[in-house]
Amino acid sequence: MPGDGDDLLVRARSVLLDALNALAEHRDSIIVIGAQAIYLHTGAAPVAVAEATKDSDLAVDVRALREDPLIDAAMEQAGFFLDPISGQPGAWMSPDGIPVDLMVPEAIAGGSSRRSAIHPPHDKRSMRRAVGLEAAVIDNVEMQVPSLSPDDQRSLTAKVAGPAALLVAKLHKIAERRETPNRLLDKDAHDIYRLLVTIGTEQLADVLVRLLSDDLAGDVTTQAMAYLQELFADGPDALGAQMVARAEEGVGDPEVAARSSAVLSADLLTAVRIQPPGTRTVIR
């Protein structure tokens, strides 16, 4: 629906560019993830549900993160502030209240905090730890990230997580929220469907096989393949496929979308399993 949704998408992209600018000195360690990254890959996907997000999600590869400038100082200098309501580490907001999340993959998040990524000298409140982002620091590609507003000519080069890594991250997000259904967002499942429809099965499978045997991303990718089976490939009645159906209600064809997400997931798992030996075995 044009109007508010489009406007929010434009503003979210503008804030993403502001955040990338603020962290320009750390460019090599910052990877765009989440819905905006998915839309950068999927373009005009033949699905009924419009692109929509207000969030900018950034993964931080702290393995080579410079000490200077400090993340919190750089963000604050650009006008960002930590969301005082959620109190979550890494939950930044633009001056006009658009969220930007800075997250560090759990496997490299350091320390023993429950929520904060511990990477001195950076403030422990500046970045949050999150499971499932490990694949994004392995599978990413430099892309042009253009503004979506005709009044804004900016276009920045940034690392953007690849489709396989984005799939792994979204699967972890849905699986993590399974136990608290009110936090489940149907749109997250629909973003997975968008990836599955747009990106070729072989292309996804090739990268997933590489991720499965990766020291850093192997475990979360293995787990994600199990989630893909349970949430989608088990059939159109599986939780994820049903979330896709709900997202299509009123605008698309729920049953076709649910079945398609299930079929494409099953195809992908088959393609991953028949890769040559030497790769890790997928759970199930």
Binding site: P46, V256, R259, S260, V263, L264
Partner: protein, 370 residues
């Protein structure tokens, strides 16, 4: 039964014949007259006065309907009772007024229903029942046991079968005038069936053809609409449902990639075909004719599904569906006339798309009619 019964289209004709049936069976000295009774508000269809040889007359308030089904009866009776209640006591007579139901034909369940309630009835075939205590009179007779106005009495013929499909498609696709032999050539049909179809369409006023002359005019839109009553995309052809998991654009792309020298014919119809001429709304499902649906499904990476299909593959009942197909964008597409009749008889919002396509065809006749 011999000659078809008189049509009895008007209610007055129905009533006249039914009264005649009753009068024929009345005992000597009785009369049955149409009469006038002042009515306050709701005027009944008729008021009858049954006059015995001696004593007072009985008044009936009559409801006449050309045809009636069982579920109509409670409302009919309620209406009659309302009309009776509205008549002033001064005009009610000795024992009445009483309700009376008249129709062209009353099937047995309706007669039973009325008899159980003591309601007088009569139909134009001679079914009638009239039971009175004062004056004492019991009349009952059985006429037809089947509705003579149904079935064989209706216009003969329909528009099913391959010759019909060939002739109708040609009549729509080619602008007249042309002779019937020329139509035989254009349609690729046999001579006998073509004449029969033309005669039938002439009787239905769907085309104009003077006695033994050339076809001068075809009401092609009405002809397609009439054909769609006897033809159905889903019921005439062998249709199977499939899922294209990456959506319809991949289907179109894969069709483009099929070379012209494929061993098996196909042609896109329905919404996807209509979009070639008259964009309506994004197509939700593809409808594709194919001589070999499993082969085509394999080439298009389709999965068989019982429900949630977005591709319907149809093995055509008649290969006329491929006639005058074209490939405007590298994809074989049926002619507009075929797409229109398939949409009119297709699932979901297809019928509305069919009307939109007919509108486009009307506005752009030179773009498609030869």
């Amino acid at each position: 039964m011999g000659a078809p019964p008189a049509p009895l289209v008007r209610e007055l004709d129905v009533l006249t014949v039914a009264l005649m049936q009753i009068r024929r069976r009345l005992p000597e000295g009785w009369r049955l007259d149409l009469s006038e009774v002042p009515v306050d508000r709701r005027r009944p269809d008729a008021v009858l006065s049954l006059v015995p040889p001696t004593g007072s007359a009985v008044t009936f308030i009559v409801e006449v309907k050309r045809s009636m089904v069982r579920r109509d009866l409670p409302a009919v009776l309620e209406q009659l009772e309302g009309q009776i209640a509205a008549i002033s006591p001064a005009h009610r007579g000795a024992a009445g007024p009483l309700p009376f139901v008249v129709s062209r034909y009353l099937a047995e369940p309706l007669r039973e229903w009325l008899a159980e309630r003591g309601v007088a009835y009569a139909d134009a075939t001679g079914n009638l029942r009239l039971a009175l205590n004062r004056p004492a009179l019991f009349l009952r007779d059985v006429g037809a046991t089947k509705d003579p106005w149904r079935g064989p009495g209706r216009p003969k013929g329909n528009l099913t079968g391959e010759p019909v499909a060939r002739v109708v498609r040609a009549l729509v696709d080619f602008a007249p005038p042309y002779s019937v032999p020329r139509l035989v050539d254009l349609a690729g049909a046999s001579t006998g069936p073509t004449y029969r179809v033309v005669d039938f369409l002439n009787e239905q006023s769907l085309l104009t053809r003077p006695e033994r002359g050339a076809i001068e005019q075809v009401r092609w839109r009405e002809l397609l609409q009439r054909w769609s009553q006897d033809y159905g995309f889903l019921r005439t052809n062998a249709v199977t449902g499939w899922l294209a998991p990456r959506g319809l654009p991949t289907v179109t792309k894969a069709l483009t990639d099929l070379s012209a020298a494929q061993p098996s014919r196909y042609a896109v119809t329905g919404s996807l075909a209509a979009q070639t001429w008259a964009p309506y709304a994004p197509a939700r499902a593809a409808m594709i004719y194919s001589d070999d649906p499993p082969w085509l499904a394999d080439r298009l990476d389709l999965r068989p599904v019982d429900s949630g299909a977005n591709v319907l593959l149809a093995a055509p009942a008649y290969d006329v569906v491929y006639d005058r197909a074209s490939a405007p964008n590298g994809v074989q597409v049926v002619a507009p006339s075929q797409a229109a009749v398939d949409l009119m008889t297709g699932p979901g919002r297809n019928p509305a798309e069919g009307e939109a396509l007919l509108d486009w065809m009307e506005a752009n006749i030179d773009a498609w009619r030869r």
